[in-house]
């Protein structure tokens, strides 16, 4: 089985405060991993470190992504190599249209693969296809990136971008927060359609609810900067029932 991500004894801090205190995790192609844990356990820090957010400092450990040293890569390189983060709080970028933003992003990815930029017609076709796949409002792509989007629209827009970029490793950071049941189903549906035997997904969530729709192969409990328990999807149900105090 093809290895996608291997994290070894990862320590990371922000502004001198140690958040991750020794994470070990292996993700192979075709797998869905859920990372659960209480507030402040380090879930979002892990996603930020994996995507190269420079506010965080890796103090120890290593991360190998598809055989390459991930920590040496700039955020944009990681994206072009196939890492995608669905942001917990997608950023509004006034004045930059979704279409232009995606066109630049898609063409940067193509350039990385040695491909020519997409023609306008092909790009619009791709846009249409992917919009249908994740069921987002056609009009959203004419607006500025996330500007004035509702919470649900922002999350759908993240999955839409994931569909456009077809990542090898997608990290969904609390994609379920702020979503009503219908929106949750649509978003989860989109993710499931994008899942295949060659890619992998890490789902970061507080709640079991999302995992009813995106069914994980493995569930990990992150607490105080460490994975303290790992199991199969049943672990999530048990956590839901007993609370995090049960594993502490």
């Amino acid at each position: 089985m093809k290895n996608i991500l291997t994290i070894k004894d990862l320590h990371a801090s922000i502004e001198g405060k140690q958040i991750l205190k020794g994470i070990d995790l292996t993700v192979n192609a075709g797998e869905i991993h859920a990372i659960m844990g209480p507030n402040g356990s380090g879930k979002s820090t892990l996603s930020a470190v994996l995507t190269g957010n420079e506010r965080y400092t890796v103090t120890h450990g290593e991360v190998t992504y598809c055989g390459k040293n991930l920590l040496e890569m700039a955020p944009e390189e990681r994206s072009r190599e196939g890492i995608f983060l669905s942001f917990q709080y997608p950023i509004e970028i006034p004045g930059v249209s979704m279409v232009n933003f995606l066109k630049v992003a898609v063409n940067e990815h193509r350039k990385h693969k040695g491909l020519e930029p997409m023609s306008a017609a092909d790009f619009l076709k791709l846009l249409r296809e992917k919009k249908e796949l994740v069921g987002i409002d056609s009009e959203l792509t004419n607006r500025s990136v996330n500007e004035g989007f509702s919470g649900g629209e922002k999350k759908k827009n993240e999955i839409f971008q994931m569909a456009m970029l077809e990542p090898t490793l997608a990290i969904l950071d609390e994609t379920d927060s702020g979503l009503d049941i219908d929106a949750l189903r649509i978003v989860a549906n989109g993710v499931n359609k994008l899942k295949n035997a060659n890619n992998a997904i890490i789902v970061i969530t507080h709640y079991q609810r999302l995992l009813d729709y995106i069914v994980p192969d493995y569930v990990h409990v992150l607490y105080n900067g460490k994975i303290i328990k790992s199991g199969t999807k049943e672990l999530a149900l048990e956590l839901e029932e007993k609370g995090y105090d049960w594993v502490k």
């Binding site: 995507t51 190269g52 957010n53 420079e54 700039a74 955020p75 944009e76 990681r78 994206s79 072009r80 995608f84 983060l85 942001f87 997608p90 950023i91 509004e92 970028i93 006034p94 004045g95 930059v96 232009n100 933003f101 630049v104 992003a105 940067e108 990815h109 990385h112 500025s144 990136v145 971008q161 970029l165």
Partner: protein, 442 residues
Amino acid sequence: MENNRFIEKLLAKAKEETPASNHYKFLKNNAITYLKDNGHPTQRHEDWLYTKLDTVFEVDWNLSPTTLSKISNIDEIFRCDVPDLDTYRIFLFNGYLYPEYLPLPEGITIYSIKDLWQKNPTLLERYFFSIAPLNHPFNAINAAMLTDGYFLHIKKGARADKPIQLINASIGHVPFLINQHNIILAEEGSEAQIIGCDHTLSPTKFFNNNITEIHLESNASLEYYSSQNTHNENNLFSSIYVEQLSHSRFYSNIITLHGGMIRNELHVNLNQSGTECSAYGLNLTDRKQHAESFTKIHHRAPACKSFQYYKGIFDDDATGAFTGKIYVDKEAQKTEAYQSNKNLLLTPTTKVNSRPQLEIYADDVKCSHGATTGQLDTNALFYMQARGIDRKEARMLLMYAFANEIVSKIKIQPLSHRIESLVNHRLRGELSRCANCVIKCE
């Protein structure tokens, strides 16, 4: 007085000409007296706090020569054209109106100011320095050492079917002071779009000290665009004075792409009810450039509207300033006046001073003003990087989005596209290497 030496030296160069008219003689003498009494301003003066005047006062300027040799390769010299933009194109070289141009539409005439002193002094006397005050140091310099300029007469009800483009080109081998004085008279119900383009065609130091007085009679409508793309040894002072009569509409959009020391003043008097004024401005600077916008909008009559939106992007060690004043007289009830200034500072060494000011004496008005200075949003940058867009390109997209709020307000499509592309090149730092440009800026 230290700051008189510059003025004395300058005045000594002003040739004793036979004054064109007694009126002009009177104005000129007043201007000289003002300059002798007051010297030049320093940065201690309230209105000149942020202007880098040293770059003007350190130079031994020559007055632009009074004869203009025939220019045969005009289109070759001026190559920074706007493709697809069909205009009535008129050139001014070193402040002198170039006498060759295609006929203007019916009801619209252009004269050289110098010619008009001979041909129709009565018309000129009515409008020359009728809005711009003489007790302003650079206006006084303009009056005392006038070069030339244009008088654009748009007669009652006349409509320009395409924009009138006035290209100011500075060219020469020694430092030149150019005192250009323009007048636009837009009579009742007339409509026109004006595009002013400022260029430098040789790498010499220039000081363009330009005044444009604009009279809008009732129901007249004028759009005034200015694209300033000069080299970084150029000092460009451009002061626009506007007087509006009832239900006239004035729109201006001033894009500063490049230059050494730039100061754009806009003074608008809303003299009669129902007038509207919209003013936009964009300053793009880097290295040691300075760009400054200075506005005074005076609501003197009821039910007028004014709207100002000025933005600036400052890189490297560039500096800039915005001073915006809105006065609302007691009589000017039902005024709507808005003003906003936003600045983007790309490095810790740039410096911008923003002073939005409101003075309201009427009690039934809607007014607002605001100013921001800030950096590029690092969260937005990371978000774009996380989608594979490299940091440089992400910065570009953000800067471009910031600038586009002003550029998108240009109502002439081909001009808007051209400026869009110039802004894009500018923000990429490619403008100084522009293929069309004969100046290679350092």
